[in-house]
Structures are given as C-alpha cells and as structure tokens.
Amino acid sequence: MTRSAGEGQRSEVADERQLVRRAQSGDEAAYEELVRTHQHRVVAIASRLLRGSQEAEDVAQQVFVKAYFSLRSFDLRSKFSTWLYKIAVNECWNHLRKKKARPLVYEADLSEEQSERYQGAAQRSGMVDPEEAARQQDLVEWLLGQLDPKDRMMLELKEAQGFSIDEISEVLELNPNTVKVRLFRARTKLMELYRRRLNPSRPAAKRG
C-alpha cells in the first residue's frame, strides 16, 4: 500500500499525538519513543545555542526531563516538537544566564593574526579548502558571539537550525512581525561588526 506524502505526514502526526497521549497517562515506553525521535534535534539546538559547550547534552537531557513532568500541560492540538523546542530554548537561555560570568569560547577577542586570517578567509570567495571553510565558520561564530544573546539565538535558530519565522515566533513568544524586525536588525548589526573587524581603519568602507 502506498501513501501520499501528505497522508504519510498526517499519520505521522497522528502517531505522535497517540504517543504523547499515552505518555501523558504515564506510559514510560511511549515517552521513551518520543525521546528517541526528538533527541537529535534537541541536542543540536542545545549545542548550537550553548555554543558547543560540553554541557549541551546535560541541558538537552534536562529538557526531556522537564518536558516529561510538564506533559500534562501540553495541549494535544499544538505541535509536540515546537513545544519541546520552546522548553529547550528556555533551558539554554537560563543556562547561559547562570554561566554569564564565564567568558564563552567565541566571545574572546580576536588577535591581530587571527583577524588577518579571517579577513583572507572572508574575502576569498568559493569555499574549496575545508580548512578555509572552517576558518570562515569560525569568523561567523565570533561575529555571533559579539551580538546581544537574544539576537544571536534568533539568528542561530533561523540560520543554523532552519526554524521558520512562525516557529521562532512560537518558541520565543514574539509576534512574527517582531521576529522579522529583530532578525533584520541583528543581520545589519552583525555585518557592521564584520566591517569594523575587517576594516578597523575605514569607518565608512565602500562595498560592492
């Protein structure tokens, strides 16, 4: 028997809803299945938002434990994954606030030499060399680290985790228009930092 993509998706949603309902009534095996399905995404989000911290996996585990104990508050009409990501983002946010005193890896200042390397990396177009690609990625990480943490998280959810505007708006409890405005501003801020980092002596560099 073959099913269309839409049908398949719908039955997947129905299956998941069934699992959630079972988990809500205390079926541990059902919850285990939900953890198995969503673990990769939640770990990836935590690792992304916590900037590759070793504690990301612990935080991700805490997300699932918290979710388990608040399962009853989950409304079966909404999407389980979005609800879970919301808990994940909140946990990461709280974790970051607690760890605020400790400087994060990417937030350390660039040395002159690093800056030179990044400049080269950013200016050469077309990523051929994986080493160079890694350098460009490091530059992006460094730039993100300079942003306000909320702006950074929003950009990361959008660009690294592929969240839609609607998902971000649900997870961060902001209206979609606000999400767009903040994303746009974060982008221009990021590029201003980029320009300043690469051309510190030219305050109004010409582009294009």
Partner: protein
C-alpha cells in the same frame, strides 16, 4: 547590490518587509516595490545591502556538522525520569500497603463478627444459657413458658 555603506538603519516601518525581501518570501510585485523604495532611500538601501550579505555568511552555519546525542542519551533521560519519580514511589507504595492492610483487617474483623453472630454459642456456663433463654422467649408461648420460668427461677435459685 545597492552599493551603499553598511551599518545604517532602515526605515522602521519597512524592516519586516526588508527581512522578507532578503529571505525571498515576497512576490515579484512586492519585491519590485521594495527595490523602488531602496533606490530613493539611502538608509534602506544600505541596510538591505548589509543584511543581504549576511545571508550567505550565516548560511555557512548550516554546513557545520550538528552535535549528536551520545548513545546513552535516551537511557539517561529515562533513568532521570524514573529517578525523579522514585522520590515519591516508596511513599506511595507504603500508603498503598497501609490501605491494603487496613482493608484486610476490616474484612477479617467483619467476617469474624458475622461468624460469631451466625453461630449459636454453645452455653459454656449456666448463667449464659439462662440469659439466652430469656432473650429467645419473647412471644408468649405457653408450652415453653414454664420451662423458661423454671430455668430462670432455677438460676436465681442457684445464686
């Protein structure tokens, strides 16, 4: 694209629309409207230029390998879930046990009492049989009246 300097802020009322533009969420007509405005507004043009350039730059994040959960992730979550429940489980179990014991005691007691009530006790002593006889003889039955009278009187006599 618009060849202006970066770092400027766009017209506040247009920012959401500009984000839609760089993310290619607009129809051709809507995109054309944005471009027309940007040609006459240096601030929007500069912001668009900058934000647009961020798209390929940030796109590099997607090329990064995603962190993977450890093989024990699910097991550890479930252990934590059970562990937190276990704080209350002994209390719950003890409460249930107490419930069962209490129910059992009540049932045994009830059965015992019922049993006692059903059994006509074998008179162990004359005094008790006299009382029994008095109680059972409530209706005036001439045939037994004398007997009971005799019994009672003999009992009285015995004392």
């Amino acid at each position: 694209m618009f060849g202006k300097r970066i770092g400027a802020t766009a017209c506040p009322a247009r920012e959401a629309r500009l984000e839609d533009y760089i993310e290619r969420r607009l129809s051709a007509d809507e995109a054309a409207e944005v471009e027309t405005h940007a040609r006459s507004c240096a601030r929007c043009a500069a912001a668009l230029d900058a934000a647009g350039a961020s798209v390929p730059l940030l796109g590099m994040l997607r090329a990064r390998p995603q962190a993977q959960p450890s093989p024990y992730f699910v097991a550890r979550v479930m252990a934590a879930v059970r562990g937190e429940q276990d704080v209350w489980k002994p209390v719950e179990r003890a409460a249930w046990r107490l419930c069962w014991v209490a129910t059992a005691v009540v049932l045994i007691l009830a059965a015992f009492l019922l049993h006692l009530q059903r059994l006509q006790p074998i008179p162990p002593a004359p005094e008790q049989s006299q009382v029994q006889a008095l109680v059972s003889v409530s209706a005036p039955q001439p045939a037994y009246q004398d007997d009971s009278y005799l019994l009672v009187s003999s009992g009285d006599h015995g004392r």
